[in-house]
């Protein structure tokens, strides 16, 4: 080490690192950053939710208390969005977890070529939502969509189907797109988790007489539970909060068949300029997520111990 370094500011920092203030130093930057970019906006959101704030009616602005929350209770679209959000998130996560799991197990067998397959299977995750959305819009297009063409050719469908136009299929179609886009995330995390399971457990089970299915049931799945827990909660948060895929694919339609809370809040704020109500919607989403996360974490912890 150069003597120069001994006298520089680095040395002072080094000395600081041996004191009890070090922990504050370490946490300070990220805390400040998060407080600025998260805490203040969140507070702002809470405040706005109890105020009227409609850009096109500046005269009405002011404190309104729980008005928005009361209104929400009789807002048809809110309830539809809530239901759709639940379906959308639950179904997408279920499919993604399943596919991710299958992919991870297959990749973990390390057959020749696994590396290449690994990258190829990850590709969808690299695409921006916007691109993925448009791409699937083309694939499922009622006139130009190759999927329709394939289905018609193979006799599954008689004519091209407008997947996003039929409320019976629109939500399912968007879930398919989301699943395609999101499952590699799980595959990657699960693969990492699988590699951490000790080989001995499988050997013991083999000697005990458990076949591949039981081994999977009784060892693989339980051992991955921590990883699954973490991945699922991260994914749920980001799915609930980000409207971009649906914004691109359907804009919530047809009717409100694919309307979800995040999109509804977005539209309320930026199409109706009703920020107060959008704020209340956001608070409700936040609370729902909080409750979900708390229950979820508690539930998964309890079952582990």
């Amino acid at each position: 080490m150069k003597p120069a370094l001994h006298r520089g500011p680095l040395t002072r920092l080094g000395d600081l690192s041996e004191t009890r203030y070090w922990v504050y130093f370490l946490l300070f930057p990220s805390l400040i950053l998060l407080l600025l970019v998260v805490a203040y906006p969140t507070l702002y959101g809470f405040v706005i939710s109890v105020r009227e704030m409609r850009l096109t009616r500046p005269g009405l602005n002011g404190w309104v208390g729980a008005k928005h929350y009361v209104a929400m209770m009789s807002d048809r679209v809110f309830w539809i969005s809530l239901k759709n959000t639940a379906i959308w998130v639950a179904a997408a996560i279920a499919i993604e977890v399943t596919l991710g799991f299958i992919a991870a197990v297959a990749l973990n067998r390390n057959v020749p070529g696994t590396k290449l397959f690994g990258v190829l299977i990850l590709l969808p995750y690299f695409l921006p939502n916007v691109v993925a959305g448009h791409m699937w819009a083309l694939l499922l297009d009622p006139r130009l969509g190759v999927i329709n063409d394939l289905l018609v050719r193979s006799g599954v469908l008689s004519t091209y189907k407008a997947w996003f136009a039929d409320p019976a299929t629109a939500l399912a179609a968007t879930i398919l797109v989301e699943a395609w886009h999101g499952f590699p995330f799980f595959a990657l995390l699960f693969l990492a988790g699988l590699k951490g399971i000790p080989e001995d457990l499988y050997k013991a089970a083999a000697v005990d007489g458990a076949g591949p299915v039981r081994q999977f049931q009784l060892i693989t799945v339980p051992m991955l539970r921590t990883v699954i827990t973490a991945a699922v909660i991260l994914r749920v948060i980001s799915l609930v909060n980000s409207p971009d895929l649906l914004l691109v694919l359907t804009g919530g339609g047809p009717g409100n068949a694919t309307q979800v809370l995040s999109l509804y809040a977005f539209q309320t704020a930026y199409r109706e300029f009703n920020f107060g109500y959008a704020g209340a919607l956001s608070v409700v989403m936040f609370v729902i997520l909080m409750v979900f996360a708390t229950l979820y974490i508690r539930f998964t912890r309890v079952s582990r111990e």
Binding site: K203, A204, A206, V207, D208, G209, L218
Partner: protein, 362 residues
């Protein structure tokens, strides 16, 4: 159990070079050897977890070479215990029975019996994460016992335990074997375990069996220097020197050390050889005519004994002295050797040189 010419290669790497072992029913075979010598590989092959490249394995009198592990009726205990972390102790122990479709009622009874034998009945509801090392070890054994298999396999079951527990559990395993009478194959690199537990020890090195014999033979008449050095702690002392045979009989000479030996068929002449003598066979004596003179280097009281390391003509020699030994570093020290207990090895082949008995004590 019998193992016939088992070979195993991983790609170009040959890790087992034709292993042949026979073990009588109810016997306790210990596979002993340094890390990487192929012990676990052999055990896995016996268990059916690995396939041999060639060779044949029979348990009892049926060949099991082609059977999957679950059909071999074996039980195995792993170094890591490999307890299923998500299942209770009870379920862990009963898992093998569960897999074999034993009805719940009966399973419970069997698990209870095994648990009592191992004194872990009070732990049945816990998860493995909440057990201490020794308790986990017992659960792993319980899992093996409950199945009443034809053959137990142990892969270094004690090496994750601390010194104290290891001694206790070792006795436990020995007791278990005597009680159950099941054939056992046991892998370890701890020679004390091998000595205390085995009815038969296979000392392995680099994929070959160096010696297959009962523990006492292995200890007292090791087949070569590797076995001699590997067995015993502190290790056998080796002194390089010459074996001189002439009219007056044969004797070993090295520096000031002279030990008369009796070689049944010795041509006159001298050849390079190595004298091996175990620390406990070196007695500290006051007599001036003792076989070995040296200077104390290190004195290590272990409690019941004191280990004395002395420098003798460049060699470091370890002797086991009494607990009350009072010597200190740099003191002069003299040892006598019980000529009956020495071993001689060919310096080149490192193999043991067969000797007759010479009852004279120096």
């Amino acid at each position: 159990m019998s193992i016939r010419d088992i070979q195993k290669s991983y790609g170009a790497l040959k890790v087992l070079h034709g292993i042949d072992v026979d073990l009588e029913d109810g016997g306790f075979l210990v596979l002993l050897g340094p890390s990487g010598c192929g012990k676990s590989t052999l055990l896995n092959i016996i268990a059916g977890l690995d396939e041999p490249s060639s060779g044949d394995i029979a348990i009892g009198d049926r060949s099991v070479t082609a059977l999957p592990p679950k059909d071999r009726n074996i039980a195995m205990v792993f170094q890591s215990y490999a307890l299923y972390p998500t299942m209770s102790v009870e379920r862990n122990i009963g898992f093998g029975l569960e897999m074999r479709g034993v009805p719940e009622q009966q399973r419970r009874a069997e698990v209870q019996k095994a648990a009592e034998m191992l004194q872990i009945s009070h732990l049945l509801d816990r998860l493995p994460a909440n057990l201490s090392g020794g308790q986990r070890q017992r659960v792993a054994m319980g899992r093996a016992i409950v199945r009443s298999p034809d053959l137990f396999l142990f892969d270094e079951p004690l090496s994750n335990l601390d010194a104290k527990l290891r001694v206790e559990m070792r006795t436990e395993i020995k007791r278990l074997h005597e009680r159950l009478g099941t054939t056992i194959v046991y892998v370890t690199h701890d020679q004390i375990e091998a000595m205390t537990l085995a009815t038969k020890v296979a000392v392995m090195k680099g994929g070959y069996v160096q010696q297959l014999a009962d523990p006492r033979t292995i200890y007292e008449r090791p087949a070569n220097m590797f076995v001699a050095g590997f067995i015993g702690s502190p290790a056998m002392n080796f002194i390089r020197g010459k074996l001189i045979s002439d009219d007056g009989g044969s004797r070993f000479e090295s520096g000031g050390v002279i030990v008369p030996v009796s070689i049944p068929d010795s041509a006159a002449g001298s050849r390079d050889c190595v004298l091996g003598v175990r620390p406990e066979e070196l007695k500290v004596v006051e007599r001036d005519d003792a076989a070995i003179h040296g200077v104390i280097d290190v004195v290590e009281p272990t409690g019941p004994d004191t280990m004395v390391t002395a420098l003798v003509g460049g060699h470091a020699i370890v002797a086991r002295a009494e607990a009350r030994f009072q010597g200190r570093r740099c003191d002069q020290v003299r040892f006598s050797i019980d000529a009956q207990s020495i071993n001689l090895f060919d310096a080149e082949t490192q193999d043991r040189i067969e000797m007759g008995v010479n009852p004279q004590r120096l």
